[in-house]
C-alpha cells in the first residue's frame, strides 16, 4: 500500500517504460500489472485459438502416429504391442514403396509442368482486352468447382481400355488404342490429365491476378521502345510473375505429393493397378491402413511421407531463396541496418 504512493503519476501512462536511474524503484499495482499483461499477452491470446486447434488436430495426431508407428496396432481393440522400428524397415524394403514414390513424382511432373505452361498462356490471353472478360475468367474456374471424385469417375470412364471414349476416337481415326490401365506411363498421363483439368483454371486465375498487378507503364514504355508482344511477355510479364510462380509451384508440389482421389478412382479396385502402375504413396498408405487394417505400418508410412514432404519443402525454400534474389537479399540487409542503429 505504501509503495503505490511513491509512484509518480506520469508513469501510469507508459507503464512499459524503463525507470530512469536514480529514482526510487516503482512497484506497479495490480491494475497496472493487468494492463501490462494485457498489452503483452493479448496478441498471443488472440492467435491462440488457431494454435490450440493445431495442437489438438495437428500436433497430437502427428505425435500419436509416431507412437503407433512403433507398435503392432489393433484398431478394433485400440491397443498395440511395442515392436520398434521394424515397420519402417518393412516399408523401406518393400519394392511397392519405391514404385509408389516413382509414380507420385512421375504424376506430379506430368501434371505440374504442362499445367503451369498452359496456365501462364491462358492467363496471358485473358490479360488482354477481350470481350466478355468476366465470362471467360469465371469459365476457367468451373472445373475447380467440381468434386475431385466426380472428375475422376468421368475421366476413368473416358480412359477405359476397351470401351473408353478416348480409345474409341483413337481407333476410329486409325490409331492404336492406348493401354491406359496397363502401361505405367499412360496411366500416369491419364491421371495427370484429371489433375490438370481440375487445377489449371485455379492456377490461371492466380497468375492472372499477378499479371494485372504489373504496372501498365512498363508495357507502354516497351511499346514506345519498339518491343513486340512476345518480347514484352518474356522481359516484363515473366520476371514480374516470379514470386507468384513460386507460390503456385509450392502449392502444386504439396498437392502432387498428396494425390489420392484420382488414382483411387482410376479403376474399380482402387488399389493402384495389378503391377502397381499407378500406386501413389497416399494410396499405398490407404491400402495398408484401411485395406489390411495394419495401422502400425500405415503410421510408419505416414511418417516417412511426412519426412519426404519436409525434405521437399526445404528444397523448395532453397530454390525460392535463389530465385527471388532481389527480395531475398534486400530484407536481411535492411534488418541489419536497423540492428546497427540500435546498437
Amino acid at each position: 500500500m505504501t509503495t503505490t504512493q511513491t509512484r509518480p503519476p506520469a508513469s501510469a501512462t507508459e507503464p512499459a517504460a524503463a525507470p530512469p536511474a536514480g529514482r526510487p524503484v516503482r512497484v506497479l499495482g495490480f491494475r497496472q500489472n493487468l494492463s501490462r499483461w494485457d498489452l503483452k499477452l493479448s496478441p498471443y491470446l488472440y492467435i491462440s485459438p488457431f494454435f490450440i486447434m493445431f495442437a489438438v488436430v495437428g500436433l497430437f495426431p502427428i505425435g500419436y502416429t509416431a507412437v503407433i508407428s512403433l507398435m503392432d496396432w489393433d484398431l478394433v481393440r485400440n491397443s498395440g504391442e511395442f515392436i520398434g522400428f521394424g515397420q519402417y524397415v518393412w516399408i523401406l524394403q518393400n519394392p511397392q514403396f519405391w514404385t509408389a514414390l516413382r509414380n507420385t513424382f512421375s504424376i506430379f511432373l506430368l501434371s505440374s509442368v504442362p499445367q503451369l505452361i498452359v496456365a501462364i498462356f491462358i492467363a496471358a490471353m485473358l490479360d488482354r482486352n477481350i470481350r466478355g472478360k468476366t465470362f471467360w475468367r469465371m469459365s476457367v474456374l468451373v472445373p475447380f468447382v467440381m468434386a475431385p471424385v466426380a472428375v475422376a469417375l468421368i475421366f476413368s470412364n473416358m480412359f477405359g481400355d476397351v470401351h473408353g471414349l478416348v480409345n474409341g476416337i483413337l481407333t476410329d481415326i486409325g490409331l492404336p488404342a492406348v493401354p491406359w490401365h496397363k502401361d505405367p506411363f499412360w496411366s500416369h498421363v491419364a491421371i495427370a490429365t484429371m489433375v490438370n483439368f481440375r487445377w489449371t483454371g485455379y492456377n490461371t486465375l492466380i497468375l492472372l491476378a499477378a499479371m494485372q498487378a504489373i504496372p501498365r507503364d512498363y508495357y507502354e514504355a516497351a511499346t514506345v521502345d519498339g518491343a513486340g508482344a512476345f518480347r514484352q511477355f518474356t522481359s516484363i510479364t515473366l520476371p514480374s510473375l516470379k514470386a507468384t510462380l513460386i507460390f503456385v509451384i509450392i502449392t502444386s508440389t504439396i498437392g502432387g505429393l498428396q494425390i489420392f482421389d484420382e488414382p483411387r478412382m482410376f479403376d474399380n479396385t482402387g488399389e493402384g493397378g495389378p503391377a502397381q502402375q499407378w500406386l501413389t504413396i497416399t494410396l499405398f498408405l490407404y491400402n495398408i491402413g484401411w485395406g489390411e487394417w495394419n495401422f502400425g505400418r500405415a503410421a510408419a508410412l505416414a511418417w516417412i511421407l511426412f519426412l519426404i514432404i519436409i525434405l521437399i519443402g526445404l528444397i523448395n525454400l532453397a530454390v525460392t531463396r535463389t530465385l527471388v534474389r532481389d527480395e531475398g537479399i534486400r530484407a536481411p540487409k535492411a534488418r541489419k541496418k536497423q540492428k546497427g542503429v540500435r546498437a
Binding site: L75, V76, R77, N78, W90, Q93, N94, P95, Q96, S156, N157, G160, D161, V162, H163, G164, P179, H181, K182, D267, N268, T269, E271, P274, A275, Q277, W290, E292, W293
Partner: protein
C-alpha cells in the same frame, strides 16, 4: 422414398442422442430396456438383402413395443470400414450385416459379438454354420444367403458356335473338371475367334473356392507359395483361362460395358450374379443358366448377421436377427432380392423349388441353385489374411493378362509379396 429415409435418419439421430443420455443417467443397467417398454432396434445392411419396409413391418406388428430402423450402406466395403472402426467401441447398429469376404476378419473379434441362442443351431448348412462358430464353440453369426454357383451362358452365341444350347445339353457339355471346362472354351474360341469366359479371375475364384486349405492352415502355417494346388490353379488359369477370357478381372467399367453389349458367352454364376446380369444387361437376350459347375460344386459369397455385444438391447437384437434369418423370412427376402437361402428348411421348401427366372429363359433357378448348393462339398478355410493373399494372387493373374510380366516372373513377384506380408 427420400422422405422416408430422412425420417429414418432423423429417428436414428434422435435415438442415438437419447441412448447417450440414457447411458449417462442409468449407468450400466443393460437389462432395464429388455424387460419391456418401447425400444428401437437398428439394422445395418448393404446392397440389397431383400429386407423391405413391408417385411420389417411384419416384425413390428408382431412386436408392438419394437421399432426397427433399417440403414443400408451402398456397398459392402463401406459397411466393412464402418464395422471395424466402431466394433468394441460402441456406435454400431443393433444388428450388423457382415459379408463373407471379411467375415473371417470379424471372427477375430468374436468375443465382442453376442452369441446366438442354442435354439437356432442346426438351422443352416453345416459349412455355413461352422464358419460362424469360433474356437470356443460360440456361434456369433446368423447366416443369411449363400452363393452356390452354376454356369450362365448365352444360348444364341452357343448355337452360333455349334455348341448345344439347351439347358440339359449345356449341363452335359460342361460336366467334368476345370481342364474340360477350358477344353470347351478352346472349342468355342476356335469356332468363333472370341473368348468364351468373361474374366480369367472368375475361373481362379471358382478353383480356389474348391480348395480346403489355400493360403494358410488353421494352426497359422502359411502354405500359400508351397501349396501345389494353388500353383496348379495359377498355371491352369494363366496358361489356359487367359486366352479364353475377355477380361482379367470383373467389375471394371469396361467389363460392365461389355456385359451390357452382350459380349460375354459364359459366366460362372452364383445366385446373386443372376441379378447382376439381368440388372446390367437388361437389353441382352439369350441368357440361360445350366445346372452344372466344373469339378463339382462351389460357393461364392453370402452374408451373415451379427449382434455387437456392447449394444443397448442385445437380447431384443438377437431375437430380431433370429427372425430375419428364419427360413420363412429368408424365403421372402429371396423373393424380394434373389438372395439364395442358407437355411436347410428353406432349401427344401416347395416355394424355392418352384422359383423360376424370367430373364434367364424361365429357368427353374430355385431348383438349379438348390442342386448346386447340394453339390458344394468343400468349405474353404479362410482366415483373416485370406483376402490379402487372394487379392495378391489375382493381381499376379492380372499382370500376366496385361502383359506386364510373364507367367513365371509374375508368380515370383507374388511369392516375394507373400513373403513380405
Amino acid at each position: 422414398m427420400l422422405s422416408r429415409r430422412t425420417k429414418a435418419i432423423a429417428a436414428l439421430a434422435g435415438a442415438a442422442s437419447f441412448a447417450l443420455i440414457a447411458t449417462g443417467c442409468a449407468a450400466s443397467d443393460d437389462s432395464a430396456s429388455d424387460d419391456g417398454g418401447p425400444i428401437e432396434l437398428t439394422v445395418a445392411t448393404f446392397n440389397n438383402f431383400g429386407y423391405t419396409d413391408e417385411l420389417l413391418q411384419e416384425y413390428m406388428d408382431e412386436h408392438p413395443d419394437v421399432t426397427i430402423v433399417h440403414n443400408v450402406a451402398a456397398e459392402s466395403g463401406d459397411a466393412r470400414a464402418n464395422y471395424f472402426q466402431k466394433l468394441g467401441k460402441g456406435g454400431l447398429a443393433d444388428v450388423e450385416a457382415v459379408e463373407i469376404d471379411w467375415f473371417a476378419e470379424a471372427m477375430q473379434y468374436s468375443d465382442l459379438l453376442a452369441e446366438a441362442p442354442d435354439s437356432v443351431k442346426g438351422r443352416w448348412l453345416d459349412w455355413k454354420e461352422a464358419a460362424a462358430t469360433d474356437a470356443d464353440g460360440r456361434l456369433i453369426g446368423f447366416g443369411t444367403d449363400i452363393g452356390p454357383q452354376g454356369i450362365c451362358y448365352r444360348s444364341d452365341l452357343f448355337e452360333a458356335a455349334g455348341l448345344p444350347s439347351d439347358r440339359e445339353g449345356v449341363a452335359d457339355l460342361f460336366d467334368g473338371d476345370w481342364e474340360h471346362f477350358l477344353d470347351v472354351a478352346d472349342q468355342y474360341r476356335e469356332a468363333t475367334g472370341k473368348p468364351m469366359i468373361d474374366s480369367a479371375n472368375s475361373v481362379l475364384q471358382g478353383i480356389v473356392n474348391q480348395i480346403e486349405y489355400t493360403y494358410t492352415e488353421p494352426d497359422g502355417t502359411v502354405i500359400a507359395t508351397e501349396n501345389p494346388e494353388i500353383a496348379d490353379a495359377y498355371q491352369l488359369v494363366t496358361e489356359r483361362a487367359i486366352p479364353n477370357s475377355a477380361y482379367s478381372g470383373q467389375w471394371s467399367d469396361d467389363w460392365f460395358a461389355s456385359m451390357a453389349n452382350g459380349e460375354f458367352a459364359t459366366m460362372l454364376c452364383p445366385g446373386w450374379m443372376l441379378g447382376v446380369i439381368s440388372g446390367s444387361a437388361a437389353d441382352v437376350e439369350g441368357w440361360d443358366v445350366a445346372d452344372v459347375f466344373p469339378n463339382g460344386g462351389g460357393n461364392w459369397g453370402g452374408s451373415y448377421l451379427t449382434v455387437p455385444a456392447d449394444g443397448e438391447n442385445v437380447e431384443a437384437a438377437l431375437e430380431l436377427a433370429d427372425w430375419l434369418t428364419s427360413p420363412e423370412t429368408q424365403m421372402k427376402a429371396f423373393a424380394n432380392a434373389g438372395t439364395f437361402p442358407s437355411q436347410l428348411d428353406a432349401l427344401e421348401s416347395d416355394e424355392l423349388a418352384s422359383a423360376t427366372n424370367e430373364y434367364f429363359n424361365d429357368a427353374p433357378s430355385g431348383e438349379i441353385l438348390s442342386n448346386r448348393a447340394a453339390a458344394v462339398s468343400v468349405a474353404p478355410y479362410k482366415d483373416a489374411d485370406y483376402f490379402k493373399y487372394h487379392d495378391a494372387l489375382q493381381n499376379a493373374v492380372n499382370r500376366v493378362f496385361d502383359g506386364a510380366e510373364d507367367q513365371q516372373s509374375s508368380w515370383n513377384t507374388w511369392v516375394a509379396e507373400v513373403e513380405a506380408f
